[in-house]
Symmetry: C2
Subunit: 211 residues, 2 copies
Amino acid sequence: MSPPRETAAGPDKGTGPAVDARVTRTRQDILRTTLEVLTSQGLDGLTHPHLAEVAGYSRATLYNHWPNRTALLRDAFTWRGAGEHSQPGGDLRADLIAELTMFRTEMQRHGLDRALAVLAAVTAFTPELADVRDALVTDGERVNRALLAQVFQGDELDAAVLMLTGMVINSAVVHGQLPSDDLIAAAVDLVLRGRTGRRLDAPAGDEDRLQ
Amino acid sequence: MSPPRETAAGPDKGTGPAVDARVTRTRQDILRTTLEVLTSQGLDGLTHPHLAEVAGYSRATLYNHWPNRTALLRDAFTWRGAGEHSQPGGDLRADLIAELTMFRTEMQRHGLDRALAVLAAVTAFTPELADVRDALVTDGERVNRALLAQVFQGDELDAAVLMLTGMVINSAVVHGQLPSDDLIAAAVDLVLRGRTGRRLDAPAGDEDRLQ
């Protein structure tokens, strides 16, 4: 798991530093367990009794911190974050390939593909988690969007971001198979070759106007 | 719901035409209810007792036909199919836009986005349903793949299919927002402009070699 972010997941109930530290540790233990169960067993494992047993805390402790599954998922996904990003080096093609490869690595090593599948399936029926999903998606797309904004704008930028991240998601989450290096490179090349701004229904003489 | 396909979902237990017809009707009632509950309540509603109540059959009837949730989901998704496709007219750009728009319509009208989210979340933890998912994905991509095969092959074809269908899936299922007409057109134009076969890391003089 990439370094988790601290979150303000509700007021602590401690009366001093030692109690605060213990509460923080308890919360993190349980959130970590929630994500482990979520990426190994899916939604079916996400009950307070089961999580309490796996994490080694009482059910009362879990219910005390999170009265229901939605509250627990909110904190677990926020704590998790979207994972690591690559560090762009200035070569747009190489940078996009590196970032999409990092996205794939997060799926492969940290179960991001399964976490995304569960998050999408839950959020579709739990609108109050939409802001958690949106924050994760925005962070997850951040580097790709900044890179693609060098050469695209408007609907083309949105389309390019949705297509490149969507290719990895479609492959891993819907097809159940991580994309190969060649597939990632082919997708990046296809999108970058499309950056001329030429509309295919425009007159032929207009083809190169934005090159 | 688009016209469901008949499936061989296990041997009927009737002893004559009237009994066969009744069994078939019972099965279809329950499969239809399963999909309705799945796209309105998600996985949480998918228990035999709840489905029996909603469909108006006894729990015993449900357990008799489908001993567990995996068996029920197998038949429900197979019965559902991937939905309707567009009819290509010969203009590649217009045909791709029409097919992606039809994909969006299936999401909007028939809950295909939610069905896909649930299917992905279930299949990630239930490998025995992978063949059901693969059949749906293959049928879902069929028209887009045939259209794109007119101008792409190999990894580029796979990348183009995954990007265009992935753009709609990413937008609807991950972002929770159906793609606009402009976004679909921008994606199609981007991909079709990329069909020159030029590698971006190739020498400049080699740029147009496959045009």
